[in-house]
Symmetry: C2
Subunit: 464 residues, 2 copies
């Protein structure tokens, strides 16, 4: 990039809105998992939508490649610059308005998820998106990656939680719909393009999000099941008998073993007999009701032989402890050694067959392999990770596992699944994505071509 | 259209897949409300996706304009041909699969909504989309218009109920994703473009729809409120205290008067004292629970002075009677005379102010005006219809009302609303739409340009 181009940008902005300081840039140039080290000639930190507009005007005119970044918690290399100018939304973090009667909240793209959850709670409402990185992840990034998390089962992914967007297009024009309408059938729903686009069509600068009534009661339980097939059957039963399943997370004993071994203060909730557990969260609009619902449904599940043991959290602290176990599986796994990770989905009805075949594949193809498959089984989404049984696996193991990944994705295809359920494509899954969906990629590129004709927006990511 | 072009189409299809018979064509060429009389040189009735593909291949190559039609129950002139070749999906009406463990159902575009509801029920599940025309409306049309209806509050519009689509593009290529995945973050969500596109991008030929657990109990009540502001406040209370509001429909006394006068066997559920009523439907995952929830919440509403009178249906028959009153408002209105109809939305929090100003506008600008504003107030969507107080209004009244419509839409704009909440644009709202959203229209046209470069798909509708 020419000095001239950089000067055009810096001279168009107030000093607070850009930086070339290496120390300030460093954390923005490395990815969340520490696997990708990037670089950028210029960190832009716009303070408002007008500045973003000015930036994308200049970048469009001068063909300057731009990478937008939220909390930089992505897992697929989509927010790490390699020479692009970096736009961090971190200074645009205002909650603009909370409208309880409309069940909506409007904020800037840099607002942190936890802040939004808190603002909703203070207004007596719920913003249900919930995921491990919520203390860092920003709304704009969560929208641009269509984030998932643990409450998708009840409330949907980020796509379903967005009532409207404000986004700046390459060239600088602003499309904005922050009215918070629940119904608006006036043509193509353009906001849908920006949701999950991984910053390749423009910069999301603000959003109006859907809020919900807070549940009057919530219950959390851990139940032991024989296998993933029983877990799926239990899910149907819980849905039918409680009407309020918010989360349904698979936890293999092997994963809990790693948590207990490596995360201080953690213990198995049910002992070590069961090979598989599920963490279940049920909520109700009535006070003191969710626990009863959970109890009755689990009793039925016992009678049908679906569940061999279960414990319902007796306090909020115990519920939090159960959730901490679930959320600590990646940490336990990391302490054990490197693992080949796969965020995949299949129809819920095919989950059990897929898991069995995938485990067979991993164990046949890789010596000393240990499958740690956990997560959002209620959505048909499993984090299917392959580690080495012997601790301390390093990059050599990842290299060995690479061909298994390709075969695992073929297996996902045969089960009509997706090679990226919630993490997105970024750069890490790009080649697998491009070869699997040729017609769709052609259409996406055609659409990108008319919105970003000079291909300045996150050009290495997603469509490449 | 040349005879040659017609012959190219008919000779590419089996005899059962097309018709030039005037009697068979007639019902397809007139709109649901009988306001638009159209014509077509050829009715195509493809029996499968391959035939649709062949048709769109020929039409694309020869620049033949095409209008796709489902149940032809649209209200904005979007499915009435004016010289275009007509593709009716009526023969493609199979339910392809029901997958209860995945909570999904896959069907062809010509499946009728009521048939889909029944298939879901027989599998122990719920397909929640519900609207007046459900005995005729077809899934493909409901998707292409992003249909709403009475259960949007709880389950969302059609957009939120579609897991995947099969659609034929101009040129004949088929994009298909009928796996029924709940999570798939692999690039732009292309299906969103076809949902609500009013047939301007291609022909939807199949869909995988989201199913839900059936509520174990449901309660329906009619409650009298002082005004729309009280209705909105009551909505918040019901959401907070029941956790399961499925429908919340505003019914003005003036509308119920017309139903009672013109629809045999109907009567006011609460007498004639209250100027405004709401119909409330609450459901629960527990048997015999919804009635209790409704009762407690309504008691609280009484205590807070939000509700002056209420009746909870004591049987399914009585619940159906309440619903019939709501659904009969258009019939009562029609019997009274012609009315200027407006399907508009505003943020729920602005509903009361909007309604008051809009009623003031209508009554000031039109002599003998009577406002009949009813419907989905829980979604911020009201059918704001203006009739003449004196019965028997005809087309002269509609002509008088036309300038008021324009001013009403300006008022909608000032309240950050939409001039089409659920009915779409079609041809009837086209000029109002095109002038109100210039940047969005430009983007929509650019996207249409790359998917349908010869502009063969429903060319008079939406973008014009």
């Amino acid at each position: 990039m020419t000095t001239d181009a950089l000067t055009a940008l810096t001279s168009a902005l107030p000093p607070a809105s850009w930086s070339r300081d290496a120390d300030e840039i460093a954390p923005h140039a490395r990815d969340w998992r520490g696997r990708v080290q990037g670089d950028t000639p210029l960190l832009l930190k716009p303070g408002n939508t007008q500045e973003v507009s000015r930036i994308l005007g200049i970048c469009h005119d001068r063909r300057i490649a731009v990478l937008p970044q939220g909390g930089n918690t992505g897992l697929v290399g989509g927010s790490t610059p390699k020479g692009e100018v970096l736009i961090s939304l971190k200074r645009m973090n205002a909650i603009r308005a909370v409208d309880p009667a409309n069940d909506s909240l409007t904020c800037e793209a840099g607002a942190i998820l936890e802040t939004v959850q808190t603002a909703a709670r203070e207004a007596g409402r719920l913003f249900p998106l919930s995921l491990g990185a919520q203390g860092s992840a920003m709304i704009g990034g969560l929208i641009s990656t269509n984030a998932g998390g643990v409450h998708v089962l009840r409330y949907g992914m980020m796509r379903e939680l967005v009532l409207g967007l404000e986004a700046v297009l390459p060239g600088g024009r602003v499309v904005s719909d922050l009215a918070g309408l629940r119904k608006d059938n006036t043509g193509y729903d353009l906001k849908q393009l920006f949701i999950g686009a991984e910053g390749t069509l423009g910069v999301v600068t603000g959003a109006t999000l859907k809020l919900f009534a807070r549940p009057a009661s919530t219950a959390v339980a851990v139940a032991a099941v024989a296998d993933p097939a029983a877990a799926v059957e239990l899910l149907s039963l819980m849905k039918e008998q409680t009407g309020g399943v918010c989360a349904f997370e698979l936890m293999p004993r092997i994963g809990l073993d790693l948590v207990v071994a490596h995360v201080p203060g953690s213990r198995h909730p049910l002992g070590r007999e069961a090979d598989w557990c599920v963490l279940i969260e049920v909520s109700s609009g009535e006070p003191d009701r969710a626990g009863l619902l959970m109890e009755h449904a689990l009793e039925n599940a016992f009678e049908r032989g679906l569940v061999s043991d279960a414990v319902i959290a007796q306090s909020e602290a115990q519920a939090a402890e159960f959730w901490r176990l679930r959320e600590s599986i990646p940490e336990g796994e990391k302490a054990h050694g490197k693992a080949a990770k796969h965020d995949v989905s299949v129809p819920v009805s095919r989950m059990a067959a897929f898991m069995a075949e995938a485990a067979g594949l991993a164990e046949t193809e890789l010596e000393d392999a240990m499958v740690i498959a956990f997560g959002h089984v209620g959505d048909g989404n499993v984090h299917f990770n392959i580690a080495r049984r012997t601790p301390g696996a390093g990059d050599d193991f990842l290299a060995q596992a690479a061909p298994v990944t390709a075969r695992l994705y073929d297996l996902v295809d045969r089960h009509n699944g997706s090679i990226s359920a919630e993490h997105g494509i970024g750069t890490i899954k790009q080649s697998e994505f491009l070869q699997r969906k040729p017609l769709e990629v052609e259409l996406m590129r055609a659409i990108k071509g008319v919105i970003d004709p000079h291909a300045i927006m996150n050009p290495r990511v997603l469509l490449g």
